[in-house]
Amino acid sequence: MPTESSPSPIIEIVNVTKIYEEYESRVTALKNVSLTINSGEFVAIVGTSGCGKSTLLHCMGLLDRPTSGKIYIEGKDTEQITGKEIAAFRGKRMGFVFQNYNLIPRLTVLENTMLPGLIAGKGVGQLKEKALKLLREVGISHRAHHKGVHLSGGEQQRVAIARALINDPIIVLADEPTGALDSKSSTEIMELLENLNENKGVTIVFVSHDVEIARYGKRRVELKDGRIVTDRKVEKKQQEKVE
């Protein structure tokens, strides 16, 4: 992992603008946003509803294309790479955690966890072992053979986090990871993410409209009307206020 003294940029966003056009309406979700995410960071993107934070996360995760501007992943201009390479980036270099967990209902917890690995073409035996290890780490291995839908929200999100880590991504992008959870589960999930970042060095970017949740981030990027209004590192003390 890169050291603190020499952080290497994982994602660089340069003057990104995203405009949604539907019929006659035209909504500018992002306006000339520039942002660099370095290895090992734990970044919270905050802002009110509709400020463009999810759009920014989707652009970072190559789930959406900006109207203008550049996005570099590990130094590569994503405009220059093919759809196949983009899919490979998403699958092998990134992990996603969604607000609604997005577990496949008919699959078991173990199968859900293995899913990105299977898509990447990895062997089932190797994946199973790794998935069980990850499920143990997120504290849900006892439910490995249950269907995802039978789990509580907090449990499902733990599975989603394990799934996001199955391909050893360079970054985990979490879109409102606690948005559908009660406060106790929210705290557990954020502590889990924090723990992954601190102890395993996983780079995490999460989006939240909840100020309390956002305080878990070591770096806080605040968006307003599609622009970054603040981007600062947060002292440990400020973080502890959450406790």
């Binding site: 989707h58 995760g61 789930l63 959406d64 759809g83 196949k84 899919a87 490979a88 980036f89 998403r90 699958g91 092998k92 996603f96 969604f98 607000q99 609604n100 997005n102 496949i104 008919r106 699959l107 899913l115 990105p116 299977l118 898509i119 990447a120 799934r163 391909n167």
Partner: protein, 480 residues
Amino acid sequence: MDISSRFAFGELREHKAIYAIIIVVIALTMTSFMLENAYINYMMQVVNETSKNIVADVAVTNVDCDVRDLYGTETTIEDAGRVAQRIEKMLPGYKASVRVTAQGTYGLGSSGEAADGCTLQGIDPEKDVRADMLRDSIVKGRFFEPDDPVMKGHTPLYIKINGPGNLPDLIYGSGQKLLGEEEPYPVIVGAAAAEIHPSIIKVGNVIDVYVSMAARGTSYAGVRVKIIGLYESGTPTVDAMIWFMHADSLRELKGYGNITGKEWIIPGVGAFRGFRPIDVDRNIGDVVLVSAPQPAYTLDPIGYSEKVRDAVQEVVPDMKTFSWHDLLVFAAGSMQDVVTILLWGSMGVTLLLCGAAIKYVMDSIIIRKTREIGSLKAFGARDRVIFKIFVYQGLFIGIASGVLGVLISLMVMQIINWYGFSVQFIAGTQLDISFVVNWFTLLVAFLIPIVLSIIAASIPAKKASMLPPVEALRKGELGM
């Protein structure tokens, strides 16, 4: 098993009820198609075999003849033997032989009033292109043998009666009536005729046949024939009509040769010749039958028959050629073609509806599973992976429908064959219901559902694969 097939099977399991209904509907459609097609194949085979007894693959006649002349009216070809040789020389692999034909009438009972008709086909038992088929289809009695009395003394009399005024001369060319003790001509009759007229048509019976023919001025002849065998080609009504004689017997009757023998003139009556007056000329005949080499496999037998006919026509441009299909169309019109078109049409409509059902079921699945599709894309699934998830479902539906349809139809055919259904046919004959499954029918019944299901599935599959991941994730969330 790749990720697409895992998901495809997952979807199939999840929607097994609706997919099972679609599979069964397609399978039953294919069953119905296959049964009808196999039955039509059987009928076609039966009719083809029968018509080929008269036409083989191609029949060559004089240019002014019609297809109906093949049934035994006047079509004399003076150098039929050389025409046959030319065809065999110019078209390697083709076989040609000469036929002599005539129309016959025979009495049915002691009253002598009722009569039935037949078409006499004079064949060369050694060389005729259909001789082996006829030999194989004998069900009672026997085929011609070398020592059969096909000519020996069978035309002891040759009487020419000068017609008064402008009326034509009458040549009485066979003396069977006059010399009743003579050994009759051997003849092979359709078994169906024996069923229709059991009292007179049976192996060993000798009957009188009045043969009408205009060749060489002969108008008719009373001929005594002995039934040596009964054959069965498949179509009872046609079998009942077609009788086979030795070609030389008919040549003798029709006067195809040089008149020999001593001649007496009876004043006021006419010329009279006796004892083997005709040296038959085997170069003379009425029709030349051509048998073409059969391709190992053809999807278009009618097209092939037309090709063969055209090839023969090129060799004999000054003559007329008919294919077996021409005779079929003459006999039954284009009824079979219409039935085939209707069959394909009805199958097409049902399959289109099934295809639409597959598409709409998958469309609805995609709408419900949009977020799942978005998630898969977020996890690195390429468009192709999503496309294959739905196409594999279509492929499975197609294979299952095809296999099920073929199995059901084969089972139904086995049951019908085992039970032995037959239907009342014309003139009191019975027609068996049977089936002929050829590779083409089997292939079509198996492949059509697969092609249909894949096409039907590929439309929603394409739509699903083209979903932008972020849109899919958003829409899914809205759907929650």
